[in-house]
């Protein structure tokens, strides 16, 4: 690993870096050991606090929570992509009557905190007796927010396709609809696939907000399980288990995003095809939170 920030280390720098490396590793080990000590002192490794994971009933409970999380995330992902496609199309429309309201909607939903969006459906359903379950509050909230972000991603993708592609397509006599559908969209979607998948990671993470509006997804189940007196309030063990599940799932999706990014770059190099659209200095990072 070379960097422009420092020279290729000579013998003295190498020795210094090695010593620093060892000091840092010892410090990290120290912190980890201290944390483990704290856990041990407070009895978090007691077998009774971990015993519940051996029961099938409790495993099923966790599984049910995970399925609820995936159910909400899956449905919301599909709806958000649809929402994003429709609003991206409206935002690049030549007709102001479509463009202006779509812009307003997209900007508004991106500015409202997701939890407040969910509250709108949650409390709205109570107030107007709509009979929406917390599941739908979560799904609809996620759809509106992530759909708006996806609309921007789609739009940026279409805007970033080299101008010549569009001009050439019009020159061969294609209509606007055809240009967008046959020429621009396929290129935009390929280029934006990593950003789209990253957004789905965000969506998956945000299902955990369902916890606050009593949707019994994974985190909600974990809270219930952690609060059980008969196992000595095993909050820490359950959060460990749940964290492993969340981080594992999201990391897999993140890896997929990175793989797609690498593939896009390689393919452009090999085929000399359209250069991958450089993500504009991660403005999309809004999005990853």
């Amino acid at each position: 690993m070379t960097s422009v920030l420092y020279d290729v280390p000579g013998p003295r720098a190498k020795a210094r870096n090695r010593i620093l490396n060892i000091i840092v590793m010892l410090a990290v080990l120290g912190v980890v050991a201290w944390l483990i000590h704290r856990l041990a002192v407070n009895g978090q490794f007691d077998s009774r606090r971990w015993a519940q994971f051996q029961y099938t009933a409790i495993q099923n409970e966790l599984l049910e929570g995970l399925l609820n999380t995936l159910r909400a995330a899956g449905l919301a992902a599909v709806l958000a992509v649809l929402f994003g496609a429709v609003f991206a199309a409206a935002r690049i429309s030549d007709h102001a009557i479509l463009r202006v309201p779509a812009t307003f909607v997209v900007e508004l939903f991106r500015a409202i905190p997701l939890l407040i969006l969910m509250f709108f459906f949650y409390y709205g359903s109570l107030q107007f007796k709509l009979g929406l379950s917390p599941f739908w509050a979560v799904v609809l909230g996620l759809t509106l927010y992530n759909g708006s972000v996806l609309a921007e991603i789609f739009r940026a993708g279409i805007a970033a396709v080299p101008k010549g592609q569009r001009e050439a397509a019009y020159a061969t006599g294609l209509r606007k609809n055809q240009v967008v559908r046959l020429i621009l969209l396929p290129q935009a979607i390929t280029a934006m696939l990593p950003a789209i998948v990253s957004q789905l990671v965000v969506l998956l993470k945000d299902t955990a907000l369902g916890f606050i509006i009593t949707y019994n997804e994974l985190l909600y189940v974990a809270k219930q399980m952690g609060g059980r007196l008969e196992f000595g309030f095993p909050y820490i063990p359950t959060y460990f288990v749940v964290a492993v599940i969340y981080i594992g799932l999201c990391s897999l999706l993140s890896l997929l995003a990175r793989y797609l990014e690498g593939r896009g770059r390689r393919r452009a190099k090999v085929t000399g095809g359209p250069a991958p659209i450089a993500a504009p200095l991660d403005t999309g990072d809004t999005t990853k939170l």
Binding site: V24, I112, I116, K205, Y235, K288
Partner: protein, 215 residues
């Protein structure tokens, strides 16, 4: 419609005041922590790079709600809980947001032209000097727009504290439900409040984007 706001003015005022305090304190702390992590990630010491990478990859794939849950319900079981709910909320937001700040700062470091640090090295600066005197100041200029996005997200994320007994703006609906007030109107007012808070950040972002686009 106005009466919902005026009758419960104190609730709204206190809620948004707490939101603002959470936001400012967490923003400052995550800028510092994020920059330190970014410095770790570009440093010549492998162990530091490992810490930076591990931190960012883990936290970016963890739901913020889980970080909150761990700090509020878990940490107490290790007798590590923070003195007040406010500080626990600040800690959760900082731990999460700094991972994103780190990535933004790192991408900013990549935008600084290599000639700058090469020149700095040629006059004999050490790694820390190159980073703090030459590279980071230039990196910050380039990252204002994405950093503004991260801050906007942070501001919106403060609402999650509502689920954890921090009485910021996001907790207003629950309190209003107890008072039997109109929930939809309450939420509309909260939305307006957030729009007012977010607008300056959006304007800052647009302004910075225009400036860097010209340069």
């Amino acid at each position: 419609m106005l009466s919902v706001l005026t009758d419960n003015w104190e609730l709204f005022r206190d809620g948004f005041w707490l939101t603002l305090r959470l936001f400012v304190v967490a923003a400052l702390l995550s800028l510092v922590l994020g920059t330190v992590l970014a410095a770790f990630r570009v440093s010549p010491v492998p162990a530091l790079r490992g810490i930076g990478t591990g931190y960012v990859n883990t936290l970016r794939n963890t739901p913020l709600t889980l970080v909150f849950a761990f700090l509020f319900f878990g940490a107490a079981k290790m007798q590590l809980s923070l003195p007040t709910f406010f500080w626990a909320g600040v800690a959760a937001l900082t731990i999460y947001t700094s991972a994103f700040v780190c990535e933004v700062v790192r991408s900013g470091i990549n935008t600084v032209s290599p000639g700058q640090s090469e020149a700095a090295r040629a006059v004999g600066m050490t790694f820390l000097q190159v980073l703090t005197i030459v590279v980071l100041p230039q990196a910050y200029r380039a990252i204002v727009p994405p950093l503004a996005s991260v801050l906007i997200a942070l501001l919106k994320n403060t609402t999650i504290a509502a689920g954890f007994s921090v009485l910021e703006a996001g907790s207003i609906p629950a309190a209003m439900a107890e008072r039997g007030e109109n929930q939809m109107l309450t939420l509309v007012w909260i939305t307006i409040g957030f729009l007012i808070l977010i607008t300056p950040l959006v304007l800052l972002q647009r302004w910075a984007e225009r400036r860097t686009a010209v340069a």
